[in-house]
Each structure stands twice: as C-alpha cells, then as structure tokens.
Symmetry: none
Subunit: 217 residues, 4 copies
DNA sequence: GATGAATGAGCCTTCATTCAT
DNA sequence: CATGAATGAAGGCTCATTCAT
C-alpha cells in the first residue's frame, strides 16, 4: 500500500526540516543568546518562512527546549555508555571526561557550558528552556554522583561529597569550553584532556611537601 | 558644620539610592537574567518610579555595567592583593582560591559565575554588559596566568599552558557557585574549599598506580 | 497570465497600503505637525496596527521623508518641465508659477509651504526630515536661480541677486498657500495667479510717479 | 512707606528674570523648534533651575505664548505706527515693509517667518502657542488689509482682494527671512529692501510688451 | 522664592504569534 | 503545507510637571 511509505516520506521530510531548523537555531543561540535570537532570524537562517517554524514547534520556548533535548539526550546517552562499560570508577571517570570534551568539538557544540540558566529563579522568561536545561543537568548529576559514590566507597576517590565532586568535574569541562571560545582555538579539548587527567590524578602542584603545610592551615 | 554636611547629605542620599537600585537590580539579574529583567521591575523593586532610574543610570545597559563594575573591581582588587602578598606560587594560588570562594557567600554574590556573556558574539544585545564582563575576565585571566607562568617556571606547577590552568581553576570556583545555587546551601564554599585544595594538590584519585596505566592509554 | 499577476497582486496591495499610510500621515502632518503626530495616530488613521507601519517604513522619520520625497519629486519634475519648455525667461517664470500654484489644489497639498524646517539648526529632532526637505529646497532654488540668472543676463529681469529673486517668488507661492488655508477657500490659487502675475510684471502700485519719489528717499 | 518700593523691587527682579528666560527660550526656539526644545534646556540656558520656570510661567505652552506675545506686540506696534503716520497708502506700504524687514535683523528675530503654526488644525499640541500666533497674524492681517483697501479705493493699488495682497506682502518678508537664514547672511534685509520695493512698484520684468501678451492668455 | 529629585504618562520600536491566502 | 503580512503587547526611554526641602 502506498499510504504507509507516503506517510513515511512525509515524516522524513518533517524530520529533515526539524533538524534543519534546529541546526540553524543552534548556531544563532550561540551567537546571540536565547533572548536576542529572534524567530525571524531562525527562519531566515533555516531558509523557511517565519510561520513555518510554528508548524514544527509550538513556540520559541518550545523550539529551544527541543534544541536542548536533542543535544542533551545525545550527551546523556554517551555519558551513560561510558559509565556502564566495564572498568574501575577512576577508569570510568576518565572515559566520561573524554566523552564530554569531545562534545566541545562536535557540531561547534557549546551546550555543555550553557550554564547561566541554572542560576535563574522561577520568574524568568523562557521558563521551559530553563526547566528543561535543569532536568538535563539533574540527570547528569545523578549519573555521575553515583559513579563518585561508588568510587569513594571503594576507596578509589578522595573522601568528599560525591555531588560536589560531580559539579567540580563538570566545572572543568565547562572551563575548557570557555577556554576554547575565548582563545578561538579549534581544538582546546585535545590540549585540555591530558591536563585535566593529570589534575584529577595527581593535582597541579609538584612540591607536595610545601602543600602539606598549607593544607594544615 | 553647616555647609559641608548639607552638600554631603545630598550626596549620601544619592549614594544610598544608587546602592538601593543596584541591590534591587542585582537580585533581579540573578532571578531573571539581564534581558528578562525590565527597568519597570527594577524600579518597582527599588521602590522608585521608572524615570528615576534614569537619574542614576543613563540606560539599562549602563546600569548593568555599573553592577558588574561594582562587584568586579572588588574581586579583582582582592585577587590582586592575594597575589602580591609574599609566598610561593602554590601558596598564592591557594590564597586566591580562598578569596574567590569567599565571594560566593558575600552579598548573595553570583557574578563570579556569570559566564554566559563570554559565549556570545558581537551581535548580541547589551553590548556594554558583555564587553565590560569580558574586560573583567581578561584582567583576571592575565593576573592569574602570570602566577601560573611563574610557578611553572619554578617547577612548582605541572607543565601546561598557564592560561588553560587559569580557566580550569576558575571553572572550579564557578562550579562551586552552581553547586551552592543548585543545592540551596548557604555555605557551599566552606565545604568546597578543602576539596578543591586537595584536588589541586594531589588529585581526586587515590590509587595512583592504576591511573598511571590509564594515562598510558 | 498566472505567475506574473500573482506577484503583481502582492505588489499592488503593498503599493496601495503604502499610499494609504502616506495619505493618512499627510493629513495628520498638516493637522498636528511632524512632532505631535504619533505613529499610533497614523496607524489608526490608516486603519492598521501600529506595528504594520514598520513593515512599510523603517521609522517615523523614514515615513516623513517618504512623504516629502513623494511630493517633492513630483513638484521638482513639473518645475523642471516648465523650465526646459521653449520660451523666454519671463514666459518660463510665469509657467513655473502656474505649476507651483496648481500644487496647492492637488491632493490637499501643503508641502510647498512647509517651510519651518528650514529654520532649524542641527540639533533639531527628525534630522532626516529636515535634511530631506532642505535638499528638495536646494534643488528647487538651483533650478530657478538659473532661470533668473539667464533672464537678468538677457536684460529681461530687473538686476538683482537671482537667488534672492528665487526666494521671493517662492515666498509669493507660499503666501498663497497660507492664504488658502487661512481663508478656508478651495481655490485660492485661481484667484492669486493673475494677481501674482500682475505683481511680477508691473508691480502693485499704479501711480508710478509718486513711487519714484519714494524710492529716492 | 517701604512696602511699595519693596514690592517694586520684587517686580523688577521678576521682570528681569522673565526677560532672561524668554531670551534664552527664544534662542532655543529658533535652534531646535518648539517641540524639541525642552524645559530643561531653557532652564539651563537661562541659568535657573527647571522648577523656577514654573514660577514665571504656568507651562511650556504658556512660556511660548509669552514669547510670541512679547515679540508680536512690538512688531504690531511698529507696524501700526508706520500705518498711522501721514502719507499715501503706497508710502505707508513702503514704510511698513521697511519696518518688517528691520525685525529680521533685530535680536536674531525669526518670528515673522514662524509660519508653520498657521497650518495646523485644532488637534495640534501647543494649542496655546498656535492660537496666540494666529491671533497675532489676524491682527496684522486686519491692519494691513485696511491699508490695501484704502489704497485700492483711491486707485493707488491694483485692483485685487486686499486680504490676498496682505498675504503676498507678508510672503515677501518671510521669504527674505528664509533667504537670510539659508544664505547665512547677516543683513539680507538691506539687500532685499530695494528689490522688494522695485517689485512692488514696477514688477520684476523689464520688457512690458511681451508680458502684455502673456497677461492676455 | 528657588531648587532639582522624583514622577509617570506617553512615545517609538521590536518581535512572538496568528491566519488568510 | 507553506507563507509572510498583520497584529498588539510590552519594553526602553524622555520630559513636562510637581513638591519637599
């Protein structure tokens, strides 16, 4: 029957359009920020009419949510994979950091560092955007916190609040993203990976003895 | 003491109003973000009429810049103090991290983690806000980069791009800010400081031997 | 005739709307002046929403400039035609005055007497309006000044600064416009034309001898 | 009794302030127009506080009315004097034109050509300004129209609507004002006076014969 | 009387969203 | 389905006017 393939073709076109629009929106989101970016700009960049955007997304906020979901689910999936693969917690941690850093180079993707939304209270506009971003964040934190909890329990990580450790690790990845952006480098991740691994494994400071005194303070 | 206090009284009122407005704006900035926050809201929160804001600031952008300047100059000053005081580079680094973390508890202060502006291109609105924030950032990075460069030259830090190290350290402080906000804790800094110091001095991972293998990968 | 009229239909609608808006704006400009006239009033008078005006004109100033350009180019063109047609300078002068006076009756047109902008310095608002108006003025003055210069050289006009004569002729036309407006007459131009022609050709005063004495004073 | 001189002194100060404010306002009115000119600017130019203006004038509109009245009464008075002095109507006309032209050089005074207000309908803002200006105009027109009526009755002027003639004469004076402004000359009036007198007495065109044919059309 | 900080109505302009074609 | 002209709510900003000092 021709109906099913026809419907499928339609779905393919729809999916294609959706991706095109999201791709255009992503670039604009990074360049101009969520508020400054207008629906008109997105439409122009995607090569469609303004009204067409509303055939694919209910609102601007909805579009931004889809953007985050699209990216976020990919990241979360890859992070999850890196954590369920066999290995000790430290091994898993290292794999996960590598995965996160790779995202900084894929698709010019800056979402891992799109952190400002986390700061905003309930009154903020783009309510949906914020909420979605925080959900994503929460899922990530939950996953990684478990890793740290396991590792701490096994005596393989320093003894600290595993949730705090999760935030700190994420902070290092974000910092790399800002570094990449600020320095205009194409591949900051490659440079940062070994440095972050060294930091994680043995710290920044070479003369441990003097530090021991400091820590005593 | 007639004339002088009279002139001063007006100045006091002006200074007081300015601070009131900035305080109201700061709260709103955190709650709603720079775009969503309207001059009307700021005025209402400060208990003045909309037009009054324009007696103290030339524009919305100007007001936000003042907000940043107010905070930023304090931070920069304290950071600078912590760096010129005597001590080895590692000692200075630790002092500086302490200073930065203290700011997370002072004045509900979230600016140290107000990083999104760094991501945006020239087209973004509130040009002045972004520029000012980036200037602040640049000054900070320059200061700390020098510290790392010195420490690396003296063999006291690991050998890495000092600028990258600066971004990473800052990332840890920011992460603490997000942690504090996300967890709703009053004093995340106190909890995070020893963890960050340990991380800096000896890493997160206890079993160094296994890590050596990882690094070989 | 399928594609072409379709594209044309949209253009026709656009052109129609543009004219509607300009017509509404013209009436308001005369009633209230360029500053007092608001975009809201224009929109209401044109039967569209305020935002719609910005689909046709970039700004209020732009709209007013379009208004002037629309009218001004017509006038200039007709004046030019009246000056290049064959005839002696006096004949041309008379033709031109007739053309100008005709404009006072066409389209409730008062622009030929919209002179205030000429008085204002650079600080005035609606910079574009003023500039455009002065450009128009300058073109007109240049054209007519040449006519007077030619006529004076040929001994057909009294010997005087041709530029001054241009201003005086224009002053008579403007005066007729004010007369029409003030008296509420429909066709002041018809009444004024022979009077102005007589004035130009032989003056207002009948007893030339007495005047000669006066001039001697 | 000291009360009376004291009151007088106060009146003197008041009158002085009033004149100072009006002088400052007049300059601004010419530079920026009645709408663009702000009360703040007037106050600054007059060297007083903004609130002080409201001790001398009820409103901005009231201030502008006073401005017109001040100037207008002077002009009207001088025109009246020139018309009641002995002489034939043509003599009086010439005297009056001289008086009007003199005003163009006095006090940088441009009011005689401040004609735009005449165009505006009832809806315009600065209602009082417009009304006052039109009253002034009406008085002037009444005065001069009587002169022309007398002269026409005596056969000394061409036979035409005396009111129209009044507008035309006034148009010549205004034109001189625009000429002075446009050309940036200091003393356009001196140059224009003989030209206008010649125009009034015998027209612009020298070859009367050819004109006679034209007039026949 | 004089001041000028404060007010708030009202303006121009933008932009997410709708809907007739 | 796609379009883009139209909408109108809302924002930043100005400025005439008021009033406590």
């Amino acid at each position: 029957m021709p109906a099913s393939p026809k419907a499928t073709k339609k779905e393919i076109v729809t999916a294609f359009r959706t991706r095109e629009i999201l791709a255009a929106a992503r670039k604009l989101l990074e360049q101009r920020g969520p508020e400054a970016m207008t629906m008109g700009e997105i439409a122009a960049a995607a090569g469609v009419a303004k009204g067409t955007l509303y055939l694919y997304f209910q609102s601007k906020d909805d579009l931004i949510q889809a953007l985050i979901a699209q990216v976020g689910e990919n990241i979360l999936h890859d992070v999850e994979v890196s954590l369920v693969a066999p290995g000790t917690p430290p091994e898993k941690l290292i794999r996960m950091v590598s995965v996160l850093l790779e995202y900084l180079n894929r698709d010019r993707l800056l979402f891992p560092i799109y952190a400002r939304e986390l700061l905003q209270g309930e009154g903020a506009s783009r309510e949906g955007f914020r909420r979605r971003y925080q959900e994503l964040e929460e899922k990530f934190v939950t996953l990684v916190t478990r890793l740290f909890a396991d590792g701490i329990a096994a005596g393989q990580f320093i003894s600290a609040n595993p949730r705090l450790l999760t935030f700190l690790i994420r902070g290092l990845v974000r910092a790399t993203g800002y570094y990449q952006k600020a320095e205009g480098q194409a591949d900051a991740a490659k440079e940062a990976l070994p440095v972050i691994l060294t930091l994680i494994s043995s710290g920044l400071i070479r003369e441990k003895q003097s530090l021991a005194e400091e820590a005593a303070l």
